[in-house]
Symmetry: C3
């Protein structure tokens, strides 16, 4: 089953928790054993799974990324967002999540995030649920 998630980010960089929407895609598919493939349709927006309980984790992560890859680091690309492309290379554009007993397999603290690195913008995530 193929589907698109539409996400609106609200800042230049931001981790948007999409766990509940991802779980809803799996529920809707009716698949009980298999995988869910997720794909960011963008070159300045990634996907990752990390802690979503203490908001300081996400905040520390974004502060660190801003320090590590500054927007104004003398890059040549005229759009001024080479830092965003590099951050996407580090976090990655796709995720494959396992499905068992009709549920996405996630550890206790794991949440699924869209990683906005050049927002705010409307973003699209391609989803494919595969039964095994």
């Amino acid at each position: 089953m193929a589907e698109r998630l539409h996400v609106e980010s609200s800042a230049r960089d931001e981790l948007v928790d999409i766990t509940d929407r991802v779980r809803a895609v799996v529920k809707k598919s009716g698949v009980t054993e298999g995988v869910l493939h997720l794909w960011s349709m963008h070159t300045t927006c990634a996907l990752t799974v990390n802690e979503g309980f203490d908001p300081d984790v996400v905040s520390d992560m974004m502060t660190f990324m801003r320090w590590l890859v500054p927007q104004d680091a003398g890059f040549r690309h005229a759009e001024g967002n080479s830092d965003s492309h590099i951050k996407v290379a580090f976090f990655g554009p796709g995720l494959t999540l396992l499905i068992e007993d009709g549920e996405v397999v996630l550890g206790r603290w794991q949440r699924v995030f869209l990683c906005e690195f050049d927002g705010p913008r409307p973003r699209e995530v391609a989803c494919q649920v595969v039964s095994s």
Copy 2:
């Protein structure tokens, strides 16, 4: 086929070679053509594939990560392991390995590693073998 690997790490950060255990999961499944999806159930522990022949490679890698993302970098997260979460974002929580002729497809020097970034701890890796 769904299964869990249980791994005990023995240091704060460490790459634990799980290649033989991963191969055993595939053997046990009887799948000859397909893929093996692996997923770390944790937010401070990742999975990667890299060189496992010369131990200096793994050692250089961990030394570099400690330098790049220091544990004590003024992070806000009170647990003191924001560096671990960031390292997981870079290495990634999941892997999809190919299976051909009943074997995991790996290059000559490639080994599968659990990447411990906040140990020592017991860790769990979810596995799913899918026949194609």
Copy 3:
């Protein structure tokens, strides 16, 4: 369907656009709905998807990686390519691309790249197309 792509890189570090070859693998397979798994058979060569329109993006990315992980950073590994192994850990050795209507699902600016970090060398990418 399992297949190998053979790629010749021409510099120590380089992003080689393999999008057209990846698309050809999918066409040849005849699969209309499913996924394409790609795997670098090497420990100093990764795979990623990023912008391929303005060559400055790729150039900025490689310049940044050379600065972030210098080849001569006092590493212990005698082969002198620990930086290459670290870059592979960041970019990742594998990709799973979605297939819909017989086409690889990519955003407008997305291109698939082999990431050479220790060339020039002949490289091999394992491919597996799976129908869903």
